[in-house]
């Protein structure tokens, strides 16, 4: 084994000591972000698997749960997030070209859209709170059969209509059926809040990341030789977007009954 002196590394100010070249740094950093996203896929994947198992097991209750969450808001949120991925991609592209102002503008737009997403999620969560659909009884009682004036019809009724049972149910049996489904619907909402909550947490982290990034674009002389922070933040943001692309159909869309 022989030793040979290294070539003098290009002393880009952003080159850190453990890497020999900017290219190696960029490749390693990007690879590292992909590996990290892989771990995130495994985490959400575990949650999704559990959700799907229960969806098969408690089909009716989960249908009822899906029906009761607002698909319009969910759709708007999907558009918002896709839009934010567009602005993020534009930010990366601007950074790549060295257009720092442009990059910062697009990052700000991404943040605005991300905040809009969280705001809409807040509206949806508030709706659930008001309808007493938050499981566990910590934020008020859980009541799948409650009726809030002007809001979605009660869940048991929805299911009953779906199965054309409503005229054949005795009042007592209807109540019993509702209780069964209510308990299972509570599990649906547990997954709803766990999945959207974990996703929202990642969004919040994403927003913090974007704030940091705004500063970095200025400080670090982002340009064609070095735009890795923007690229990696973009990867993270796109990932969070893709998780929502899975969440939306899984929670809102599959086997949805027609709401009134």
């Amino acid at each position: 084994m022989s030793h040979s002196p290294t070539t003098i590394p290009e002393h880009h100010p952003a080159l850190v000591h453990q890497f020999d070249s900017m290219e190696q740094q960029r490749e390693a950093s990007t690879f590292g972000m992909w590996v990290f996203l892989l771990t995130e896929i495994m985490m959400f994947g575990g949650l999704f698997a559990a959700y799907l198992i229960y969806r098969i097991k408690y089909y009716d209750a989960f249908v009822a749960g899906s029906t009761s969450i607002d698909v319009t808001w969910g759709f708007v949120n999907t558009l918002v997030l896709i839009g934010s991925s567009l602005t993020m991609a534009l930010a990366v592209s601007a950074a790549q070209r060295g257009a720092r102002r442009g990059a910062q503008l697009f990052i700000v737009l991404t943040m605005i859209l991300g905040t809009v997403f969280l705001g809409i999620k807040g509206i949806e969560y508030h709706q659930k709170y008001v309808e007493h659909h938050i499981p566990g009884g910590i934020f008020g009682r859980f009541d799948a059969v409650s009726n809030y004036p002007g809001q979605e019809p009660n869940i048991a009724e929805e299911v009953a209509k779906e199965k054309e049972r409503v005229e054949k149910l005795s009042p007592e049996a209807a109540e019993q059926a509702s209780k069964q489904i209510a308990k299972q619907t509570e599990i649906f909402f547990c997954f709803y809040f766990a999945m959207t909550g974990l996703h929202a947490l990642h969004m919040i982290i994403g927003l913090i990341l974007m704030t940091w990034l705004l500063v970095q674009v200025q400080r670090l002389n982002i340009g064609p030789e070095y735009y890795t922070p923007v690229e990696l933040s973009g990867l993270y943001w796109h990932f969070v977007d893709i998780v929502w692309i899975y969440l939306f159909p899984l929670l809102y869309l599959i086997n949805r009954t027609h709401a009134k």
Binding site: A28, M42, P135, C190
Partner: protein, 545 residues
């Protein structure tokens, strides 16, 4: 061998990573992988002794069949705390975070890991997890067993399950970041000439373990989160009274926890490859087979989880598939054992302390691994599942295997990490004491298990007492074997002989730099032109031992 040898008495290098910078800040804000390894060394040694204290109390309590030392609740907390601490806060980080962090960048010829700040962050995350775990312990403990089966853990016990789950969650994230760092480093930062086929087997083994870390640990994370939600908010994900499925918890839990045992053992196997080659002065037998067996273990390790559930209510057909795959995962481990043994053939063997630990590993891991075959045999597992047979099996692979590998590695690289030699005669004695104490402690447990003594029993039937006493006696000897290294390693820091760059005349990039290494590892980036373990080259300068 040369007759006109020049002998040079080794001296400590003037500047190295330990004295480059002084002060608490230089340690707590370090980005140097070597210093981070030392930080981890302190942390996990602390938890090893905590877990060891619980083990000692358990063995004391089990001297009598009627459980007179502690109340049942206290005993239940002790075996839980023993398991949680040993697994999550000692075994999983042991070789990767201490030895791997220190050695792997040097082994691949890099100045540091790919992401030094993330490396430091992983230690802080570990410490946060450690804090939660300690808090859970002192404020009442946890008594669910380290497996946290539901609905017991989600709805019945009144202990600090959520706090402990959070602690384990953090420890898991620490392990994810360590694994991520290793993977990127091995892929992107190898020195010129260092192809995958020239990597030391320590790197292969840690790489394979890192794959498991990043893929499996997130599933544990989500399982613990769901458990905490269920416990905190009374939701019925795993609790049947609320509509949940307790067997689903077991599937999700074991999906991580089975690969976790391979996270624990693979790095140890990497250490063994390094030691056996060095102390046989011979290249490893069947390099490619040993390297790929690490990957095979990682892959197969992911598809055998339900062998923990043969009597838990899975279908017979499902059980058969998992049993078959469990035999498949045993084969690569067997291949390694045969290759290590063959490495010694026609070698030039010196039984220094690291080699003693390595040989102990090979013997005890063989026994432990073979007893895994008992458990994988469906009809037999019905009888021995959840008995002391299982306990004996996993202690053979984890303590007789992994802890001995860790100690062997610590002894092997101690001169490199500290620049000092530990006292060889005492170390050999400690290794022998550990080996004897270990077998005396755990071999009787195989018999106890087959006789039917269930695990996690605070009281047991009187006919089991003789073997329990034997086991506890062995434990007291084992404790001595573990305490001695702590003492003489500390002693060696001040009074040990200076080691010199390469006291064992080993190959490998880490031995081509000073002991201790400089902060930046290499003055010039090495270029690798030879296979690993290229023993058989003559040494021109002998170093006075």
């Amino acid at each position: 061998m040369s007759t006109a040898a020049q002998t040079v008495k080794p001296v400590m290098p003037a500047r190295h990573y330990l004295n480059d910078n002084y002060g608490i800040r230089s340690w707590l804000l370090t980005k140097d992988h070597k210093r981070i390894a030392v930080l981890y060394l302190f942390s996990i040694t602390f938890f090893f002794f905590i877990g060891g204290i619980f083990a000692s109390l358990i063995r004391l309590h089990l001297l009598t069949p009627n459980g007179e030392l502690f109340q049942a609740d206290t005993y239940n907390k002790m075996f839980t705390m023993h398991g949680v601490n040993m697994i999550f806060f000692f075994l999983i980080p042991s070789v990767p975070a201490v030895l791997g962090n220190f050695i792997i960048p040097i082994m691949v010829g890099a100045k540091d890991l790919a992401f030094p700040k993330i490396n430091l962050m992983s230690w802080y995350i570990f410490m946060v997890g450690a804090f939660f775990s300690l808090y859970a312990m002192v404020s009442g403990g946890v008594d669910t067993g380290w497996t946290f089966y539901t609905p017991l853990s989600s709805g019945f016990v009144h202990t600090n399950v959520i706090v402990m789950a959070v602690g384990i969650l953090f420890a898991g994230f620490s392990s994810i970041f360590t694994g991520l760092n290793f993977i990127v480093t091995v892929h992107r930062m190898r020195a010129p000439g260092l192809t995958w086929g020239r990597l030391p087997l320590m790197v292969w083994a840690n790489y394979a373990a890192s794959l498991i870390m990043i893929l499996g640990t997130p599933v544990l994370a989500i399982t613990l989160i769901l458990l905490a939600l269920e416990r905190g908010f009374h939701i019925g994900i795993f609790d049947p009274k609320l509509g949940g499925d307790p067997v689903l918890f077991q599937h999700m839990f074991w999906f991580y926890s089975h690969p976790a045992v391979y996270i624990m053992i693979l790095p140890g196997m990497g250490v063994i490859s390094e030691i056996v080659t060095c102390f046989s002065r011979k290249r490893v037998f069947g390099y490619a087979f040993v390297a790929f067996s690490s990957i095979a273990i990682a892959v197969f390790g992911f598809v055998v989880w339900a062998h923990h559930m043969f009597v838990a209510g899975i279908s017979v057909y499902s059980a058969m598939v998992f049993s078959l795959l469990s035999y498949a995962v045993a084969i690569p481990s067997a291949v390694k054992v045969f290759n290590w043994t063959a490495t010694m053939y026609k070698g030039s063997v010196k039984l220094d302390t690291p080699m003693l630990y390595a040989l102990g590993f090979i013997g005890l891991f063989t026994i432990g691994g073979l007893t895994g075959l008992f458990l994988a045999a469906l009809g037999l597992d019905v009888h021995i599942h959840d008995t002391y047979f299982v306990i004996a099996h996993f202690h053979y692979v984890m303590v007789g295997g992994m802890v001995m590998a860790y100690l062997g590695g610590l002894h092997f690289w101690w001169p490199k990490m500290t620049g000092k030699l530990y006292p060889e005669p005492v170390a050999k004695l400690a290794a022998l004491i550990t080996f004897i104490g270990f077998n005396l402690t755990f071999f009787p447990q195989f018999i106890l298990g087959y006789m039917g003594m269930p695990r996690r029993y605070a009281m047991y039937s009187p006919e089991f007492q003789v073997l329990n006493v034997l086991s506890s006696a062995g434990a007291s000897i084992l404790a001595v074997g573990f305490i001695l290294p702590a003492l003489y390693f500390t002693w060696s820091l001040k009074y040990g002989e200076v080691a010199g760059d390469n006291p064992y005349k080993a190959t490998g990039l880490e031995w081509q730099t000073t002991s201790p290494p400089p902060t930046h590892n290499f003055d010039v980036t090495p270029v690798v032109t030879e296979d690993p373990y290229h023993y058989g080259a003559e040494e021109e300068v002998t170093v006075v031992p």
